[in-house]
Symmetry: C2
Subunit: 400 residues, 2 copies
């Protein structure tokens, strides 16, 4: 008797856990929260420049920006952080107008050293200001052309390990250096990630929660092909974008069966998107799972006054906005729960600090690794974007 | 013989066209581009305040913001425009810090006059600065509580017609007043919308294009349940958000058959999202149609220099960034075209001005009306969001 097949069934949680244990040995992001941050802190402590400017796109900017946007209105950072990502000329010009070029430190971040956006902006920048060891830092792979460029010009250089992918690099120097430079307590941040690491790999609460969530998503991947992240804080808009990249680029793959996977991420901000996308969740086709993110305590005491010139909505009077937005989230969650056929979960962040955002980010990295393992895809590559790069190079070479 | 049914087939283009002709008589947005703008321009010309602050959310802010964000880095507006939308206390506090309250004009925009976010922020604002006819304007329905509030306090008042829905209100006073106040040529803007109106209702190019697109989307609504808008300009981020609201809230409905509709919008920005979502479009399940938006001429002449300290990617040298981003879009479009099974279309905007963005916006409004007519839904209501509002009121009343 002989048995052949071209399908697979969903593996047990135990098999997936072992897969992640094994990945820990060669996929670099898992152990990033435990790396020595002294060189980064030392470099940051010596910096005197006021504006920190990241030249980087995708995985080289989204992580640091997510954390910066989350923290910036709560923490009085003495320095400003900018991201030059896009080749949009209007964007480049208007951002450079806002930056004090003479008093700026430029972090050039490209793992390959050949990212079109980053290199073209770097070239343009060199026409605007002299780039040297006083104002330019390179973060790239060892042996890349940016590495050579740094050596030739005596620029400070931090290398990014080969086995850390861009979208999983926020706890490497890619995220840590810009954040340390503006004054984020990066060690406390990494402690948040470490906590999740231990909770997962020691089979604590994170193991239970993430395994159940990943399994549900995979078992229902064709029925619920869209995952909506509904974040109740304007400061989480950068996190939403980071999540969209992580999810789309990691899980948008063809699996070992040759089957195109279907999971699509959508990032929303509450309460604003209650007035936009919510109608579609409530009455549209049941093709979405919804994850709510709430902030337990904004530590921001502003209130709707008890006496105001407008009598309308007097039941709002005396409430804090922190409580109000929380109740708006709860009302939306309850209205979705009442539907009965929309799967949802709620993640509550204790407060707006670097420890809590790191917990959230590391949890999502693990979640995506677990889903990828269940789907039997390569979570860590992005072969689908190579073709466009080749075509662009052809078009550019021809146009000369 | 007798024939009964509980299904419907997709109507002919002619029937849909007649439906829109009939809607023109009672759905207010169609004729907005032809309204008299003199009262708005007159009010704007008398204003001396430097900061224009919109208190409004959803349809009361997304349209004006889309146009403002599109134009702001090309046009040197002498005034700044702010949007107080969210009840997020960190957002409220940080925005109010940036606004010069003493020199600000507040536009309170709520069709119903009972929008929780807008009214609570208005109440809070009254504790920070005295609101009177010198600094406060009300835009609401006739007879709303905001109308009474305006009358009691002698505030300037513009009314929003009952038959203009929030998400279709950008060419009404809701969008025109804030934009006129910062110096946008609103008459030229409306001419862009008028052009599309004529082209569609006189069965010109817009009729052909929009009908074919809507028909394809409706005929394939279950196969391609996600519509991706891939905009190649950072300045179109606000437009993407406006599109998401228009699409999700108009089309996320139960139709006359009792069937939940499936069309989900996703907004992307190129080239940034080439490094994020593109992998999923290329290798994920074929559940997406993709619309690219390109800007023909950014009128921004900055170049990658011909001599630069970095030899890498020398084929970029001498190219303008305007040309580069255009080629990046073309390379991405071609890589998607090569797949053969991803439906896409490309919209090219001539340049960054109010006329062109209005053409785009009005085209999308018509497109959504056409799709809604094909789907046999009510495109103009949003019953799914009412339940959350009721629950919030209950929770707030109980908590007192």
């Amino acid at each position: 008797m002989k048995f052949e097949k071209n399908y697979y069934s969903i593996r047990s949680n135990e098999v997936i856990f072992e897969k992640l244990e094994e990945e820990k040995e060669h996929i670099g992001y898992y152990r990033l929260p435990f790396e020595n941050t002294d060189p980064i802190k030392e470099f940051a402590s010596k910096n005197t420049k006021e504006d920190i400017v990241v030249l980087g796109i995708g995985g080289s900017s989204l992580g640091a920006r997510a954390i910066y946007q989350f923290l910036r209105h709560k923490h009085d950072f003495s320095k400003r952080l900018f991201f030059l990502e896009s080749t949009d000329p209007v964007d480049i010009r208007s951002q450079l107008e806002a930056i004090n070029l003479e008093n700026a430190l430029f972090l050039v971040i490209s793992k390959s050293g050949t990212t079109v956006e980053t290199i073209s902006i770097l070239k343009y920048l060199s026409t605007r200001i002299s780039l040297d060891h006083n104002n330019t830092v390179i973060i790239s792979s060892k042996g890349s052309t940016l590495d050579s460029y740094a050596k030739e010009n005596g620029l400070p250089f931090f290398f990014l390990a080969e086995n850390v992918g861009g979208r999983f690099s926020v706890f490497s120097v890619v995220g840590l250096l810009p954040l340390a430079l503006i004054g984020v307590d990066i060690d406390n941040m990494l402690r948040g990630a470490q906590k999740i690491y231990h909770s997962f790999f020691e089979k604590g609460k994170s193991y239970e929660e993430l395994m159940e969530k990943a399994r549900f998503i995979v078992e229902n991947k064709y029925r619920f092909n869209i995952n909506v992240l509904f974040s109740y804080s304007s400061a989480l808009e950068g996190f939403n974008k980071w999540y969209v990249q992580l999810w789309a680029e990691s899980l948008g793959k063809i699996n070992i069966n040759g089957t195109r996977q279907a999971l699509t991420p959508v990032g929303l901000i509450g309460p604003v998107d209650q007035h936009s996308f919510l109608q579609l969740i409530m009455e549209g086709k049941r093709d979405k799972t919804v994850t709510f993110i709430k902030v337990e305590d904004f530590e921001e005491e502003i209130f709707v006054p008890t006496k105001s010139p407008l009598s309308e909505l007097d039941y709002l009077e005396g409430i804090s906005f922190s409580k109000l937005i929380d109740m708006q989230a709860d009302a939306t969650i309850r209205s979705i729960a009442e539907q009965g056929d929309i799967p949802y979960d709620v993640i509550t962040i204790d407060k707006v600090d670097e420890y809590n955002i790191a917990e959230l980010i590391y949890s999502y990295e693990l979640l995506v690794s677990i889903i990828g393992a269940f789907l039997q895809i390569n979570t860590y590559d992005q072969p689908g974007v190579e073709r466009g790069k080749i075509l662009l190079k052809e078009m550019l070479t021809k146009s000369q």
